[in-house]
């Protein structure tokens, strides 16, 4: 009987190790830090070279779009616009499609990568959070553009 238990234990340990290793290696590529603007500014050094999702609120009136292109420049701030205190503000330059909900005050999430020359959002990656009453058993957000190709 003890022999059998040893066999089982070895199998479990081997499986767990293999699984853990695979999990660890895939998580390294797959994981993305989720940061608000304030956290992003504070931890900028530590986040160098990392994949992350940056969340913030679009500053009203800051959106600039070159006509007939998909190039956008805008500012995002840490706190909701109506809270009075903006927190840190970041300049973003983004290229790609934008969801219908993208306008001043909108809460947006930008997946991208931070390198030494700044934050680069993924093209077509913008996701707009919808603060509406949407809570029914649905499967995805209204008007939110999913990252292309995901």
């Amino acid at each position: 009987m003890t022999h059998r238990y040893i066999k089982i234990a070895v199998t479990v340990v081997v499986l767990a190790l293999a699984f853990g290793f695979m999990m660890w290696s895939t998580l390294r590529d797959g994981a993305e830090y989720y940061k608000h603007v304030d956290e992003f500014v504070a931890e900028q050094q530590a986040l160098q070279g990392k994949t992350l999702r940056l969340e913030g609120y679009v500053v009203p009136g800051s959106i600039r779009n070159l006509p007939n292109t998909m190039q956008y420049r805008f500012k995002i701030q840490n706190n909701p616009i109506r809270s009075g205190d903006p927190g840190n503000v970041l300049d973003i330059s983004y290229s790609g499609t934008v969801p219908d909900t993208f306008k001043g005050e909108a809460q947006v999430v930008l997946p991208g990568k931070l390198s030494s020359d700044g934050f680069h959002p993924n093209p077509n990656g913008m996701i707009a959070k919808c603060p509406s009453k949407y809570e029914a058993a649905g499967s995805a957000p209204p008007g939110a553009a999913h990252p292309a190709g995901s």
Binding site: E32, Y34, K133, G138, S139, G143, H146
Partner: protein
């Protein structure tokens, strides 16, 4: 009306508590009356919940905006059908809908199994009532759909979100809920079996259909959600690994695992602990899924309601489920483990099932883990780390391929142990199919390893299933002497679950084809000025013009996009944006234009536009094989439907009818038309165990119905039904007698002589003393009627007599009463 609704909820809560207590007490004391009372109470809960649903639907229909839920989910201008579906549009209503469905399912399950599983029923009632109590409690204390506004009622409601006003969305939640709620029934039977210790197959038999039924609706709900996402969310895909999607997928995995492993227990009496664990897990995961989407624990791009109270209540409930259920499993471990045989060999069907189960369970845990990962990482490291869709895909792609492989492998392996010769015989054609497909696709220029593997495995599974059908039908044709098509239908009819399951697998193959096509998806976005074109794959798209349409409810901006293929214009598509007048602050709704073809979809989204220059930003997605996913779900539903059909449905193709029956002739004609091969009648009538040969004459058929099997293990079934070897022998005897030219009475006489009595007859001969046996039921019925009449008479007489005795007529009193009445006037 709102008060009535709240009152109904409170009463249901009290009744559920009563049902739970009284059932357990009844079971422990062995009191039939208490148990019956509990059953009655749960029927009553069903009636009350139906009334509560009627109240809320009525409130929606009559625009009763004093109820907050109505004001939140509806508006007076909302189309009638969406007023109805708004019932389950929000959180509060969906919980009400949940309890309503559960009470209906519970009533059906209890009614059907009341006699058959008498020992389990009280605990089934108690378990279901406890679950209902939790959800009723949620409503009563926290999320009452009938709560009214404290201030004056608003003049109009805010209306259902326009995105939810879609026909898929109208039926997606009820389908998903039906699946979720249906899983409570197997759980209740499992718990009842654990408590009572009746851990044989009987509880499994009671829940088999429920699990299949719930699984079907769960699958269907998932598909509806996917179609909805594809049509309305404008990103060209249907699955984004969003927590809400995952919440429905996780219990689907465990339910699928259970549907497979239950066969191993029925067949080999193995995996008893495993099965009961899967049932508990599936139920737990349906509650967990509801918790995920409703409590705001997991952040998603959805604006979930952030609701810590709900989160705490749900956590308490889930912990109780786990502790109680697994406590019971541990308590019953000795009983569950008793007499369970060991696995003979891994190269066997049960071995394949076991691997399939582990992988499905792993899928469930992996998806749950990844869904919870941001929350877990925040709790442990204080930093929120999310995982993107790519992470899921990296894991689920190989796992999905292994599962697909097992789908093909399982049917090829024999139970217990497959011999080498057996393997060679079984694997030849499927492997050949696989190799040919790979070679063909490779020659065609396909190099993507994942898709190549997927296509190859699809071929492998398809050939396996075809081989199963072909071999089974051929054997059956030989045995029954019918044509191949009738034999095929008869084959499916004789083992509906097995062949229904194979059809489900065909559906799965189609779905995987669709997934494999995803690797060849093209996605491009470009700004197109008026008259400009862009090329994506084989398509060239030209922005012809942009027009603005003013309508009553909305203003639409429509782009006219011409589609060219090889220089020829093949179509014009109209991607659009519409601004709804009722929702001036909401962003416009973007509608994708989809050109659907079996080979590939062309999916156009106008993401933005410059009204002045008529320039549009056009997102073009080419989705190969996407429609195969929907087709696959259709086949899957068809297969499950066959497995679910009641026994009597297929009688036309079963052995009872002569070959000349009209249906068969039609089928033959059809077969002739389709394939041109003629029916080859076989005169051979050798029976294989488990099948029944066709009777050749009317007399034989009649007598088969009269003579019962004498093996002693079956329920004295007539020869036309019993499939045991004794019955087969008796059928051969009967045929020999008939072929010898004997008549009905002569055969009966010789059989009486052979068996030394009439016990072989299903019904005694209608003669002499035996007439008494015929008379007996009628006598009993007559006595019953007389008895009921007598008791009714006695009771009514008693009722009449009592007041007469109590109030003897007193003339004086009468006069006084008359006087007083006169004075009153």
């Amino acid at each position: 009306m709102a008060n009535l609704g709240t009152f109904l909820l409170l009463t249901s809560f009290v009744l559920c508590a009563y049902a739970a207590v009284v059932s357990v007490a009844g079971a422990r004391r062995g009191s039939r009356r208490l148990i019956e009372s509990g059953i009655g109470a749960s029927y009553l809960v069903c009636a009350l919940m139906t009334a509560a649903s009627a109240v809320i639907v009525n409130a929606f229909m009559t625009d009763d905006f004093s109820i907050r839920y109505i004001a939140h989910e509806s508006e007076s201008a909302q189309p009638l059908v969406y007023k109805f579906t708004a019932y389950w549009g929000g959180l509060d209503g969906s919980i009400l809908f949940w309890v309503f469905l559960l009470s209906v399912f519970a009533s059906i399950a209890i009614y059907v199994n009341k006699e058959r599983h008498r020992e389990l029923i009280p605990y089934v009632v108690a378990t279901i009532s406890t679950v209902e109590m939790f959800f009723l409690y949620l409503m009563v204390v926290h999320k009452n759909p009938f709560s009214t506004s404290v201030v004056a009622a608003p003049a109009d409601g805010t209306g259902l979100n326009p995105l939810l006003q879609n026909y898929w969305m109208a039926i997606h939640p009820p389908s998903l809920y039906t699946g979720f709620v249906g899983m409570t029934i197997p759980f209740a039977f499992g718990i009842a079996a654990l408590i009572t210790g009746h851990l044989d197959d009987s509880w499994l038999r009671a829940v088999r259909r429920w699990t299949m039924f719930s699984w079907l609706f769960l699958s269907f709900g998932l598909m509806l959600g996917m179609i909805w996402a594809y049509e309305t969310l404008n990103w060209g895909g249907y699955w984004g690994w969003d927590p809400v999607e995952n919440a429905a997928l996780i219990p689907w995995f465990t339910a699928t695992a259970f549907l497979h492993s239950v066969m191993v227990q029925e067949r080999r009496n193995m995996l008893r602990v495993w099965n009961v664990t899967l049932v508990i897990l599936t139920f737990f995961l349906t509650v967990f899924g509801t918790f995920l989407t409703r409590s705001g624990v997991v952040q998603s791009v959805h604006a979930f309601g952030d609701d810590p109270v709900l989160a705490r209540l749900f956590t308490a409930f889930m912990v109780s489920i786990l502790v109680f259920s697994f406590g019971m499993v541990i308590y019953r471990l000795p009983l569950l483990r008793a007499r369970a045989p060991e696995l003979d060999s891994w190269v066997s069907r049960e071995g394949a099932f076991l691997v399939n189960n582990w992988i499905l369970l792993f899928c469930a845990f992996f998806v749950a883990f990844a869904t919870m990962f941001p929350t877990l990482s925040e709790a442990v490291t204080k930093t929120r780390i999310t995982v993107a869709a790519g992470f899921y895909n990296k894991w689920m792609l190989p796992i999905g391929l292994i599962l697909l492989f097992l789908t093909g492998l399982g049917p090829l392996l024999a139970w217990r142990k497959s011999s080498l010769a057996n393997l060679r015989d079984q694997f030849l054609w499927p492997v050949l199919g696989l190799v040919v497909t790979v070679a063909g696709l490779f020659a065609f220029g396909l190099r993507e390893w994942a898709s190549l593997t997927c296509f190859a495995l699809c071929a492998f599974v398809t050939v396996t299933i075809l081989q199963e059908f072909w071999r089974g039908a051929r054997v059956r044709r030989k045995n029954t002497g019918t044509d191949l098509l009738t034999a095929l239908i008869g084959l499916v009819a004789r083992n509906k679950r097995r062949y229904g399951g194979y059809i489900v697998h065909v559906g799965i193959v189609c779905i995987f084809l669709g997934f494999a096509g995803n690797a060849y998806k093209r996605d491009e976005t470009k700004v197109l000025e008026k008259g400009q074109s862009m090329t994506v794959g084989a398509y060239t798209l030209r922005n012809d013009q942009v027009k603005i349409f003013e309508e009553d409810v909305k203003q639409s901006i429509v782009a006219y996009v011409s589609v060219f293929k090889r220089g020829q214009q093949i179509d014009t598509l109209y991607p659009s944006k519409s601004a709804y007048r009722k929702h001036p602050n909401d962003p416009p709704r973007t509608d994708a234009a989809i050109r659907r073809r079996p080979g590939e979809d062309l999916y156009l989204v106008m993401t933005s536009l410059e009204p002045g220059t008529q320039a549009i930003t056009l997102n073009v997605v080419v989705n190969p094989l996407v429609n195969w996913v929907w087709l696959g779900f259709g086949i899957l539903a068809f297969g499950t439907g066959i497995a679910l059909l009641p026994e009597s449905t297929f009688t036309f193709a079963m052995a009872k009818l002569p070959v000349e029956a009209a249906t068969t002739t039609t089928v033959i004609l059809l077969a002739l038309l389709l394939t041109g091969f003629a029916r080859t009648a076989s005169a051979q009538h050798v029976e294989k165990p488990g099948s029944i040969s066709e009777p050749t004459t009317a007399l034989e058929q009649q007598m088969r119905n009269e003579i019962g099997c004498t093996c002693g293990s079956c329920a004295h079934e007539p020869l036309s039904k019993c499939t045991c070897s004794q019955a087969a022998e008796m059928r051969q005897d009967l045929r020999a007698e008939i072929e010898a030219g004997k008549g009905h009475d002569a055969i009966v006489a010789s059989l009486i002589e052979k068996y030394g009595g009439q016990q072989f007859l299903v019904a005694p001969v209608d003669k002499g003393f035996n007439r008494l046996a015929w008379l007996f039921p009628y006598l009993l019925g007559g006595v019953g009627v007389v008895g009921v009449g007598f008791v009714a008479l006695r009771w009514s007489r008693h009722g009449q007599a009592a007041p007469a005795e109590a109030a003897p007529v007193d003339p004086e009193l009468n006069e006084r009463l008359d006087d007083e009445l006169r004075n009153l006037d």
